[in-house]
Symmetry: C2
Subunit: 429 residues, 2 copies
């Protein structure tokens, strides 16, 4: 892991550059699958499932039998862990509910804002070696609190035509309305267009490999919204001598094991800590099952020493980390002044994995610098904010002239006329 | 205007089809301009301004002198109208502020959500025949309330190198920090990359022609967010015998004058009203200055008679109109049950142009059916929701085991290890 001392500001963007991804090569594949599924529906889905997942399916939707069968395959202790996580995530997301906002802006002019659930949402959950059932908690729980009517879950089947039982258990527990054994591009295309068995949805959430990422981008061309643009996972830790080097190293590695393109960064005002963390990384890395992945990610990663907290903060805000851990004496300085980060973890006993699983916050977060302008998934991700207004006769008399003047100045006479007609009718009465 | 009686549900999607737009032809032009501005900055901006706007500029940013000069060119009565609108828009958007949400999900596990302003935003305001200064109110006012530090406005200059004075006046009034005489693709590219004079921004808002629409799409490939996907403007009115045919026609026409691809729809349970509105449209249309545009839009538009309110509501929710006017006896039925609409206007004295200008609601709304999944611009459009958490020793002891179990079940041992190390250290103490 490269250590950099006091980098000058004009080198920051180079030092903080993220591993880039280009997906152009697979765009054609994705578009072809979309085309086929748009015109052939389930037939095409089954064809691609055979081709990509190497399994022939009769029925795409999980039956009640399959769901209750899966429940028995999850250990009781894992179920309890999932239930604990669910309770915390529910508490935190339910607290994000807001009341309608109503204002009488002028006497007789009443405006209000109400949030209405997105009626149909789709959740994509990757399968394979790491069955990310935790992501179901993060998506289905707020979807349910918001009141989304249709919550569709797609996840790829294994070669026996089954979905990992923990995925099925968690989906069922969190109020998913339909579960489909469909993965990859074909899942995203299926939810975009709808097929004989898969409902069309209005917004698609969830992580995935490069094919899923491109498929979600393509879906947006067909009037579907997506949770946020994708990018490799990343973590930035700011730490000083009050931090524990072993803990910091374990946090950096927990992010590094996600993928070879993950990026982890330590910013520190302590040279001793930088040295200690580097050593700890070496020793902890050696015994990790996913060390080959983590080792590659560590190559993209940096230990950065800076002289002051002010300098550190500026650099961190410039980077806009997805995950930001604060292990310093003066926590308040960073917590109050952080402008760009997805989620912030404060203190020596707040590992990032707490937020990944069970503390209550959402783990679907903006990466790739998107923390500068995107929120992570939160309750509002499952709502649209709609506005309403009702104007009385005296209300339109109070603001009508202003509307007429402005519409005329913009050259929009029909806009003006809609008010003029009403004002005239009131004069005549 | 075509009248349709009791269409059966399987014909709805055809009847409600929106005029389509395809922009592929101009994508190359847009990408070339982006490339040039990325590498040449202001030089390229000036080159394209000369080419597209037919004016050679020395300086792109408006000077204080130019700003104060413009103030004198706006009539006092228009200024007062703009100030009235500003006051209402401020009241409604300020009321949308939310407090941080804090929850102790488990004893010792404190999670909170705080909204932080997007630091740098860009507003694009078209020029030309209809100077849309009202859009500045809709964008700069909430940007200011949210606390965005840099609020950049770009608008194309005329052949004399000037921006319409109402745009300059409104921008200055609403706290825009810098105004640039740059339009079209070059404005969007300039704000995406930043140039010697134009600051790089994180999110771009505002309407525009097809070049601006494609440029905003391209900008998202360079890590910039945009307010929402674009589409032609649209209005749906539901009305019964309690409605005034002349008012309804004036509202339909106010939307129709926006562009030839605008779409307006009347859904009614009264055959008499359908006939009356059709007649009113003919007579009002004849005297409109923008009748050529409105006439084309009316061709895309429909009067739909249905037997019941239930049927009407289902059809409206299927369409998801940008603007939705409710002029019926039983308003409550529609107001309570509308699921998909950008903004709702209730009663005979609530013309859509009130919301376009001065009632207080925002006029930047989801069109093209996007009301199913997107909010219109509102205060939160200028924030990111960030989460924070702080876990105590007893907190991690309470949830640590659940995290370990879940991480292990997902095959992410380094995630587990970050917790295990901490739990062990607490046992040893």
């Amino acid at each position: 892991m490269k250590t950099i001392y006091n980098p000058s500001k004009d080198t920051w963007s180079e030092i903080l550059e993220r591993p880039t991804q280009t997906f152009e090569a697979i765009e054609d594949t994705v578009k072809n699958v979309f085309k086929a599924i748009k015109s052939e529906g389930d037939v095409a889905i089954k064809k691609y499932t055979k081709q990509f997942d190497r399994v022939e399916l009769d029925k795409l939707q999980l039956t009640d039998n399959e769901i209750s069968e899966a429940q028995h395959l999850v250990s009781e202790e894992l179920k309890e862990a999932i239930q604990l996580a669910k309770a915390n995530i529910e508490k935190f997301h339910a607290a994000q509910k807001t009341d309608p906002v109503q204002v009488e802006t002028t006497a007789g002019v009443v405006c209000w804002q109400e949030k209405k659930p997105i009626q149909k949402v789709g959740l994509y959950i990757p399968g394979g070696t790491a069955p990310l059932f935790s992501t179901i908690l993060m998506l289905a729980i707020p979807a349910n609190i918001a009141g989304c009517k249709e919550i569709v879950l797609c996840s790829p089947p294994n070669t026996e035509g089954k979905i990992h039982p923990a995925i099925v258990y968690t989906g069922n527990l969190c109020g998913v309305t339909k579960i489909f054994k469909v993965g990859g591009i074909q899942a995203i295309a299926g939810m975009t267009f709808g097929t004989e068995s898969i409902p069309q949805v209005y917004k698609i959430f969830g992580p995935g490999n490069q094919f899923v990422t491109v498929a979600k981008q393509v879906a947006t061309q067909y009037n579907v919204a997506i949770d946020m643009p994708a990018g490799p996972s990343e973590l930035l830790v700011v730490a000083d001598d009050s931090a524990d080097a072993a803990f910091v190293a374990s946090d950096l590695l927990s992010q590094a094991e996600h993928g070879k393109d993950s990026q982890v960064i330590l910013v520190t005002t302590s040279k001793k800590l930088a040295t200690d963390v580097a050593k700890e990384i070496e020793s902890q890395l050696a015994v990790l099952p996913r060390r080959d992945i983590a080792k590659e990610a560590i190559k993209n990663s940096k230990l950065i020493y800076v002289d002051s907290d002010t300098e550190a903060l500026a650099l961190i805000n410039e980077y806009g980390p997805e995950h930001f851990i604060v292990c310093v004496e003066d926590e308040d300085f960073y917590v109050s002044n952080i402008e760009n980060a997805g989620s912030v973890f404060i203190g020596n006993y707040t590992p990032e994995s707490a937020g990944d699983y069970a503390s209550g916050t959402n783990h679907t977060l903006p990466t790739n610098g998107y923390a500068k302008q995107y929120s992570g998934v939160h309750l509002d991700s499952f709502y649209k904010a709609m506005t309403f207004q009702k104007i009385s006769k005296s209300g339109i008399q109070a603001i009508g002239n202003a509307i007429e003047l402005m519409a005329a100045a913009e050259g929009l006479e029909a806009h003006k006329n809609a008010v003029t007609l009403r004002l005239k009718s009131l004069k005549n009465n």
